[in-house]
């Protein structure tokens, strides 16, 4: 893996966060902790940004990044594996922060399909809305969507925590294997269809439950984890207003009597 200094051909470093982004020549100055590295995606391509974010020494050399004018580009800040903070000012396309490890990514806008897909750890926060398949198959970390998330939010989730300030679309948590999905608004049709061991909390209405998904009792330990999740997400909601859903575990094994359930 290259060092950050080896991949700076296209990425200006050390520009103050409040500076007007320009396609400047690479600046030799080392950034300080207070100065994020600013990358303007109108003049720098996503490849150069990701290459720099993948540099072996990025956490030491430049732990804070600010990406401006993303303009819906795909695959921004994917595959991060370092303790860096990335602030993206604007809307992003597909797979922003995909397979994230350790890093903290904030999208100050809306996110396209598959934001934080297969995330392993770290946090991803979307200040706007998220398109479908948010945090698909993600194993760990925390995804916060302050607005609403579209269909299939948390599809095949494998351990991630997801907190959605608004609503989620249909088939959310489909085949959810592990992790927790918190929905402060309403959930669409077929919530938790074919659910395994993921735990779902919804404050608003649920249009319908999917196959093998049932409402379950909210016990003290569930209130406690819900309180913690809302606090971690920074979302002000009353945990006592949520209902819990999980797997009835009746479809875990083939049985002819269950044929009509599929």
């Amino acid at each position: 893996m290259a060092a950050l200094s080896d991949v700076l051909v296209d990425v200006p470093v050390g520009i103050p966060a409040d500076a007007e982004p320009t396609p400047a020549e690479p600046t030799p100055a080392e950034p300080t902790a207070a100065e994020p590295t600013v990358v303007d995606l109108a003049t720098t391509d996503v490849r150069a940004l990701n290459r720099a974010l993948h540099a072996a020494d990025v956490a030491q050399t430049s732990p804070r990044w600010r990406v401006v004018r993303p303009d819906g580009r795909h695959s921004i800040a994917v595959g991060l594996d370092a303790e860096v903070q990335v602030q993206i000012d604007g809307h992003v396309g597909y797979y922003c922060a995909g397979m994230n490890k350790t890093a903290d990514v904030v999208v100050d806008g809306n996110a396209g399909v598959g934001v934080a897909e297969n995330m392993m750890s770290g946090t991803v926060r979307v200040r706007g809305n998220a398109s479908q398949s948010a945090a698909a198959t993600a194993h760990g970390g925390l995804l916060v969507v302050e607005g609403s998330a579209a269909a299939r939010c948390g599809i095949s989730m494998k351990g991630v925590d997801i907190v959605v300030g608004g609503d989620v679309g249909h088939m959310s948590a489909f085949m959810g294997q592990a992790g927790r999905l918190v929905v402060c608004g309403d959930a669409g049709h077929a919530l938790g269809d074919s659910l395994y061991e993921a735990r779902l909390y919804v404050a608003g209405s649920v249009r319908s439950l999917g196959a093998d998904c049932v409402e379950k009792e909210v016990r003290a330990e569930h209130l406690a984890e819900l309180t913690d999740l809302l606090a971690a997400a920074g979302i002000d909601a009353d945990p006592t207003t949520f209902r819990r859903y999980g797997s009835a575990r009746s479809l875990y094994n083939f049985h002819v009597d269950n044929a009509s359930a599929y």
């Binding site: 597909y94 797979y95 397979m99 399909v113 398949s133 698909a136 198959t137 599809i155 875990y252």
Partner: protein, 438 residues
């Protein structure tokens, strides 16, 4: 009925059909099994090579070179795979196979400098450690998928489907979901795992292009990205996969094996490998990408003749799965009594889904798995791949070719009208290619 009138079996309701109706009525569940299509379909046995004579010069069998190397994934990747033989090992999961079987596949493949492939369940250290070239499958389930393994893979294979069940997802029954398998897949132990058939975060070719872009970005454009399709609408699928940016397309025909699938799916969905391959080549040629995007063909590849015929029809490499398991020891005649105890027999055993494989290959039972020595198994697999490669060289030299890739459709004729139409080569003894006039 007279005393001497012979019994007449119905062609429609033959004994196998009657038995299946009786079994279905008894159990209320469809038959699930391993392996590929058992029905007779037009296959590579229906093709013959035209050895050199007056118009073509043969090469000396033991004196003139006939190269077999292949490069996979040079279209976009910084580090394509350089293999010494075009025989690769198809994707088979840890879970479907024991850890020792996966290790044996890695050992065998590495011994002959070819690649092996993970499956629906993630990458094991045994397999990574023993595989010089390891292709990491990216499946709808994403079981065990993580960026660390993605980065330590040598190539990435986005799986859209497989030949045994195009349109179907993976399946692994509860008896094989042991603690380790369950842990790798984040599933409860003992569940009947039914994987998704569609990817969770993309649909269609335009999305696939973006997904491939993401995988390249995560791995800094270093690794070849394959796209695997089950043979069905092959012509269009190959065009779309190439357009989406695939470096390599893996085409799996209906004879391709599966660890566990409904028998009705295996036998009635998809098309034969022979029918699919020429469609794929045509699609790539029309896009100007034949040989730029490599084509790996699987599904019923059994020997060097099949390999040579795939090469002649335009493939760059083949992948073997069932044949590789047989090379390791699957269906070995010395275990016939044990197969019979399971209601099968050596040469017939296909209940790979049950996890009771006497050969210790398609099992998660530690005692059974211990029966397979991965070193010896790897050696047997390497032997088999060497034989396949040498057999193909024999044929290629006879056709005057100094590289397996120099074989061409003009070297082939077909024994049946069906094979001639599918392979788009003349019926033997004629110049007639069905569908192309005289």
């Amino acid at each position: 009925m007279t005393e001497h009138q012979p019994l007449r079996e119905s062609a429609t309701f033959d004994r196998a059909t009657i038995a299946e109706i009786q079994r279905a009525a008894e159990t209320g569940i469809y038959d699930i099994r391993g392996g590929g299509a058992k029905r007779a379909v037009p296959h590579f046995d229906d093709l013959l090579f035209l050895g050199a004579s007056m118009s073509r010069y043969p090469l000396e069998g033991y004196r003139e070179r006939c190269d077999t190397d292949v490069v996979l994934g040079a279209r976009h990747a910084t580090y394509p795979l350089h293999l010494s033989t075009p025989v690769t090992i198809a994707g088979m999961s840890f879970g479907a196979l024991s850890g020792r079987a996966k290790e044996a596949l890695g050992r065998g493949a590495s011994e002959v400098n070819t690649s092996t492939t993970t499956g629906d369940g993630g990458m094991t250290p045994e397999e990574r450690g023993q595989s010089k070239h390891l292709v990491y499958q990216y499946l709808p389930s994403r079981y065990g998928m993580n960026p660390d393994d993605l980065r330590q893979a040598d190539a990435i294979e986005v799986v859209l489907g497989q030949g045994a069940k195009p349109g179907g997802g993976g399946m692994l029954l509860g008896q094989k979901i042991t603690e380790r398998v369950a842990g790798m897949r984040t599933l409860p132990m003992g569940v009947d795992q039914r994987s998704a058939c569609r990817h969770p975060d993309w649909t269609g070719p335009d999305d696939l292009e973006i997904k491939i872009g993401e995988l390249r970005e995560i791995t800094d454009w270093e690794k070849p990205v394959y796209v695997k399709i089950g043979a069905s609408r092959t012509y269009y699928d190959v065009k779309l996969a190439a357009k989406a940016g695939a470096d390599v397309i893996v085409l799996d025909g209906m004879q391709g094996g599966t660890a566990a699938t409904q028998n009705v799916f295996i036998e009635h969905v998809g098309i034969p490998t022979l029918a699919a391959l020429p469609q794929a080549v045509q699609a790539l040629q029309e896009e100007g990408l034949h040989r730029t995007v490599q084509l790996v063909v699987s599904g019923g590849i059994r020997n060097g003749a099949d390999l040579a015929k795939c090469m002649a029809l335009g493939a760059d490499a083949v992948a073997i799965g069932t044949a590789a398991l047989i090379a390791l020891g699957d269906n070995a005649p010395e275990r016939d009594a044990e197969y019979r105890a399971l209601g099968s027999a050596a040469g017939y055993y296909d209940d790979w889904q049950e996890g009771r494989d006497p050969a210790g290959i398609t099992t998660q039972d530690d005692e059974l798995a211990a029966r397979l020595d991965p070193v010896q198994g790897g050696r047997r697999l390497a032997n088999f791949i060497r034989v396949m490669t040498m057999e193909a060289q024999v044929i290629a030299r006879a056709c005057g070719k100094a590289h397996l890739h120099h074989l061409e459709p003009e070297d082939l004729v077909a024994l049946t009208i069906e094979a001639a139409a599918m392979a788009r080569v003349p019926l033997a003894g004629t110049s007639w290619i069905p569908g192309r006039g005289l």
